[in-house]
């Protein structure tokens, strides 16, 4: 019978996952497998992901690739593994999965944190953070990683709460969305107009923050940082100087590796195991001493999206 591989992403609307799905579809086609895809209705929709796993197993999937929306899916993973299904976590770690292909989000935060510290050249940081929304692990990991990279008081990679050392003067939820990033930044500037570092959960939120800073005439004095590595919003905006630096991740690579693992399992029944870091690179147009980064030209070759 045809090999069936399932891919379950957190949501449908995030370019990161859309790209991941495209990559998986291409890889599956090449390998002669059928790809089923499903997504939660929104980030955190573990119930939707659980149902999707069950339905895919019912449809004959032997390998399921999943970007976990939360640990509530762990028991189900164990259940379907017992039925002979291989479960591979992509992007977000989840306990119990056979293998994990992911970027380390905490590390992604650390990279831009370190870059920001270097870029400030010893000036006292006045930080605003445009976070995701409450209770989201990726949001917490990037945020706390950023503070760790800057050398500020922070929480560890396991925490789902956001640290707020004294240097962080304003925190706003952006939902990873440009419009809300803009609103959040506007409000933060009202609170404190001395802000000189802006951490954003992703590149659209960073673009929104830039828009607010520009309207206030402060875009030149502030270091804006993001995470993702999209072509236009990320690398393009680094080129334009909209954001100073971004941490690039590789969704296509995760997807391709996941599908390959699925094909392998179908062929010889060998399960993947362990953690494979698909890597994260700091992209900056102005390299800083002591912080390893790639330039935008190199980044152009590896970025994703338009």
């Amino acid at each position: 019978a045809e090999t069936v591989i399932g891919l379950i992403t957190k949501t449908e609307s995030n370019p990161f996952f859309v790209k991941m799905k495209e990559g998986a579809e291409a890889a599956a086609k090449k390998g002669g497998a059928k790809l089923l895809s499903a997504a939660g209705k929104q980030d955190g929709d573990t119930a939707g992901q659980i149902s999707a796993m069950e339905n895919m197993v019912a449809a004959g999937a032997k390998t399921i690739l999943i970007t976990s929306s939360g640990d509530a899916i762990i028991p189900t993973i164990k259940k379907i593994q017992a039925q002979g299904v291989q479960v591979i976590a992509l992007d977000s770690p989840v306990e119990g999965a056979d293998a994990l292909f992911a970027t380390n989000n905490y590390k992604a935060g650390e990279l831009i944190g370190a870059y920001a510290k270097a870029a400030l050249k010893g000036k006292a940081p006045v930080i605003a953070t445009m976070d995701l929304f409450p209770g989201h692990p990726v949001g917490a990991q990037r945020h706390n990683g950023f503070l760790a990279g800057y050398g500020l008081k922070t929480l560890d990679a396991k925490s789902n709460e956001l640290a707020q050392p004294a240097e962080v003067v304003c925190m706003a939820d952006s939902f990873g969305d440009a419009a809300k990033g803009q609103t959040g930044m506007e409000n933060c500037l009202q609170k404190n107009d001395k802000i000189n570092v802006v951490y954003a959960i992703n590149e659209p939120a960073a673009a929104g923050a830039y828009k607010a800073l520009k309207a206030a005439g402060k875009e030149k004095d502030v270091v804006i940082l993001g995470v993702d590595g999209m072509c236009s919003n990320g690398v393009g905006n680094v080129e334009k100087g909209v954001i100073a630096a971004t941490s690039m991740q590789y969704p296509l690579k995760m997807a391709a590796m996941g599908v390959a693992a699925g094909l392998q399992y179908a062929k010889d029944g060998k399960r993947q195991s362990g953690y494979t870091d698909t890597g994260v690179d700091l992209v900056a147009s102005k390299p800083m001493a002591g912080v390893k980064s790639i330039d935008t030209k190199t980044a152009r070759g590896q970025c994703w999206g338009d």
């Binding site: 992403t9 449908e12 799905k21 579809e25 059928k34 790809l35 089923l36 895809s37 499903a38 997504a39 939660g40 209705k41 929104q42 980030d43 955190g44 929709d45 573990t46 119930a47 939707g48 659980i50 149902s51 999707a52 069950e54 339905n55 895919m56 019912a58 449809a59 004959g60 929306s69 939360g70 640990d71 509530a72 899916i73 762990i74 028991p75 189900t76 306990e95 409450p134 209770g135 989201h136 692990p137 917490a140 925490s159 789902n160 709460e161």
Partner: protein, 319 residues
């Protein structure tokens, strides 16, 4: 003009049921695994949480209210029961009761605000939606609670029933539907729920304390959300602080798909079960068909409209 609906109780669920049967027939042709006992037992397990929430939601909508907080309150309940068990070492039944107490308290809060302060249910539950979400996040520190006693996942276990594996929780949900159906249809209190939704003024003038009926309904709904908390914990084996976010709309959708009027006073609770099943069947069938996830959303949108249109047609035909 919705007169027949009120007159012939069984008719009310007929329309949605036809839509459900049509959907099942369609998916059966699409994938050979669809029309299997195993698959149906799976679908039932998948709708058991939303289905239980939707019981409470139906009660509230029957009184011409709406509860936006249902999913979040359910999530809070699941966090309370799992953390009480994990942190304080309470036994499963005691911890579950504590969780149900928490959701019931929220139901009471909603009910008091609706009846005493006379605020619109939409606003009240929008407020408590946010409050319940914040409490959940703060209390759980946004961490999933996984180290729960075995007793808490009992209801997620299955038993064999004529070749199909049926979860105990599904049986509980079905029993609750039947019980509430009988209660609404055959008891004085149940009829008062309809009366309050149909004409609060007439009900008041008939000497019934509409506030008491409403308060009772909100509290009862809170209890059902607590039972849903218990079921979601049993199903997932964890307490998930991010749970319940999509359940709000899903539960209301199930109620409306099931033919209950958002204006209150008209509808049959068994329709809600059918509505919840329609949602579950769509999700399952489309995944089996291998429809890619964006197109699933597109098709779901179209099918929801078609399902209710079928209902509408079948009702016209019945005139």
């Amino acid at each position: 003009m919705n007169t027949l609906k009120a007159k012939l109780p069984p008719m009310g669920t007929l329309g949605p049921a036809i839509a459900l049967v049509l959907a099942c027939a369609f998916f059966s042709f699409q994938h050979e695994n669809f029309l299997t006992l195993k698959n149906f037992s799976l679908i039932l397990q998948q709708v058991m949480v939303v289905g239980t929430i939707a019981i409470g939601q139906t009660l509230i909508i029957l009184t011409a209210g709406i509860d936006l907080s249902c999913g979040m309150v359910m999530a809070l309940g699941s966090i309370v029961m799992t953390k009480f068990a994990a942190d304080y070492g309470l036994s499963a039944p005691v911890a579950i009761l504590c969780g149900i107490a928490a959701t019931t308290l929220f139901g009471l809060l909603n009910g008091l605000l609706v009846t005493r302060v006379k605020l619109p249910p939409f606003i009240v539950t929008l407020g408590t939606l946010n409050i319940a979400f914040a409490c959940t996040q703060l209390y759980s520190k946004a961490q999933t609670v996984t180290n729960i006693p075995d007793g808490m996942s009992l209801l997620g276990d299955t038993f064999d029933f004529g070749g199909a594996r049926v979860a105990y929780g599904v049986v509980l949900m079905l029993a609750l539907y039947v019980a509430m159906w009988v209660w609404l249809r055959d008891t004085a209190q149940g009829r008062h729920v309809y009366a309050v939704g149909n004409s609060p003024e007439a009900t008041r003038l008939a000497g019934i304390s509409t506030d008491k009926v409403l308060l009772g309904v909100y509290v009862l709904a809170g209890v059902f959300y607590g039972i849903a908390s218990m079921l979601t914990v049993a199903r997932t084996g964890a307490g998930d602080p991010n749970g319940g976010q999509t359940e709000n709309l899903d539960a209301i959708t199930a109620v409306v798909l099931g033919g209950t009027s958002l204006f209150g006073g008209r509808g049959i609770i068994l329709g809600t079960l059918v509505g919840a099943l329609i949602v579950g069947v769509f999700r399952n069938g489309l995944t089996l068909m291998g429809v890619s996830s964006v197109y699933q959303i597109l098709v779901t949108g179209i099918l929801v409209i078609l399902a209710v249109a079928t209902d509408q047609m079948s009702r016209k035909g019945g005139r």
